[in-house]
Amino acid sequence: MKKWFSRYSQQIFLFAVMMLICIVLTVQSKYFLTWKNIRNILEANSYRLILAIGMTFVIASGVMDLSAGAMVSMCGVIMAVGLHAGLPAGAAVVLGIGTGMAMGAINGVLIHYTGINFFILTLAASGMLRGISLMITDGKPITRFGQDFIFLGIGRIGEMQLSVIFAALLVMLSIPLMFHMKWGNYVQALGGNKDALEKSGIHVGGLRISVHMFLGVMAAVTAVIITARLNSAEPNAGMNMELDAITAAVMGGTAISGGRASIGGTVLAVLILGVIRNGLTLMSVSSDYQQWITGFLLLLSVLISEIRVRKTGTLMK
C-alpha cells in the first residue's frame, strides 16, 4: 500500500488539487457543478488531451516537439484543401493523418540522424509548418465543409460529443501501449538510457521516428476535431497548443528528461488546466490570464520535478 502511494504520489496529489479547485469553483459559481458545464469542460479539452497523450510519449522518449501546434494547423489546412478538392470526409481524414505521420517522421529522422538539438529543430519545424500553412491558405481560413465531416467535430453519441469519446478511447489504448506492450516499454527506455536500449539490440532510429509519427497522428486527430468543430481550417489554429500539451505531460508526472511516463497523470493535468480555464471564464477573468497560468504551471511542474530528482538522489539524465 505504502509503495502504491509512493508510486502514484504525483497523480494522487493532482487529483487532490483538482478536487480542491472544484470545491472552490463550486462555492464561487453556481454554474460550475452542473452537467452542462462538466460536459463543456470535457468537450473543450478532449482535443487538448489527444495532443497531450502524443506529447507524453515523445517526452517519455527523452525529447519534446515544439512543432506539435503547427502540425495541428498544417493537418487541418491539408484536410480542408482535400475536402474542397472534392475528397470525401473519410479520405480527407486519412490525408490529414498521413500528413501528420509524414511531418512526425521528418522530425524523428532529423532529430535522430542529424544530432541537432530537438528544441532548435522542432522550433524551426514549427516556424516552417506555420509558414507553409499561411502560404497554402494565403493567410485566410478555409471554410465550409460537408455535414459528414462537421459531424466528426460536433456529432454526439447519446449525451457525449464524439471528440470526448475519441479522447477516452485513445487514453484507453495508450495505457496498454505505454505500459504493457513492447513499443511503449522501448519508448520509455529510449528516454531512460538510449545507449542501454541500443546495446540491447533495438533499432533506436526506427523507434525515434515511430514516436514522432505517433505524435503526428495525434496532431492530425486533434486537427480533425478542431477543423470540423469550427467548420474552418485556420493557418493559426493550434497556436501554443504544444505548451498546453507539454505542461499537461510534465505536470502529470512524465519525467521531463524521459524514461518515465504517466498517462493517468496527463489526463488529470489536462482536466486541471481545463477546470482552471473554465473557472476563470465563469468568474469573468480575462483569457490573457489563462495563458499566464499555463506557463506558470509548466514552470512549477518542472521545478517540482527537479526538486524530487535532487531529493531522491536519482541518477536520471
Binding site: H180, M181, K182, N185, G192, D195, A196, G259, T312, L315
Partner: protein, 252 residues
Amino acid sequence: MTAPIVEMKQVKKRFGYIEALRGADFTAYPGEVTAIVGDNGSGKSTLIKILSGGLKPDGGEIRIKDKAFSSLTVRQAMEQGITTVYQDLALDNCKDCAGNIFLGREIMKHRFFLDHKLMRQKTRELLNRLQIFIPDITQPVEKMSGGQRQALSIARAVYAGGDIMIFDEPTSAMGLKETSRIMRLFLELKKEGKTIILISHNLFQVFDIADRISVIHNGLLVDSFLTKDSSPQKLHEMIVEKEEGMTDEEMV
C-alpha cells in the same frame, strides 16, 4: 590446437585525432577465460565494443566461429552468441531489475502484452541462483548501489546466455564478498563451456581465473600468453615498462 572461437585481425579505430586501435589483434579459444589487460586508454574497451557491435571499426577483420565480418551490429553480435557486460553497465535507471534484465528479450503473454509478473518471478529466481542480494527488485535501478547495479548487469548477461561472454571491468564497484561470488560464477560459466573474455585492472583476479592473457598497449596487442607461464608481478612489470617506454608522440 583448438581453432579460435573469436579472432580479430588488424582492427583499427580512430576517434578524431585519437587512434584508439592501430591494428590490434585478439584471439579467444572456446571454453577458455581470456583476460585483456593494459593500462587506461590502451584500447581494451574499444576492442570489445567493436566485438560486441557497439562500435564500427575503421579497418580489420573479425572472425567469430569461422564467420568473417568487417564490422558487427549489436544484433549480429547477439546472433553469434556474444553477450556483453559493458563498463558503463548499459542499464536504464528508470526501470526495475526485471525491466533491465528483459530489455530487448521480453516475455510476452497473449502475444502482444508484456508478462510483467512472470518476468519479475524469473528475475527473482535468477538473482537467487546467482546469490545476488537486492532487497526490493521492483525499485528503479537508480536507487541501487554501484555493486548491486554491476551485479544486475552480470545477471542480465547470464540470463541472455550467449556462449561468448564479455565482461568489461565487471567487479570494479563491488565489495570483496560480492567480487568473490562473481569470480565463482565465472568459473561455473567456464565449466558450462562458455568462452569468457574479461577486461580487468585487478591482475590477481585475472591470474585467479584466466587461462590466457592478452596485453594491449597503445592500441596494439603486444603479447599473449598462457596464465600459467607468467605471474602478476611479471605482468605488472611488463605493463609499467611499456607505459614508461612510450615516446611523447605515442603519449599524445
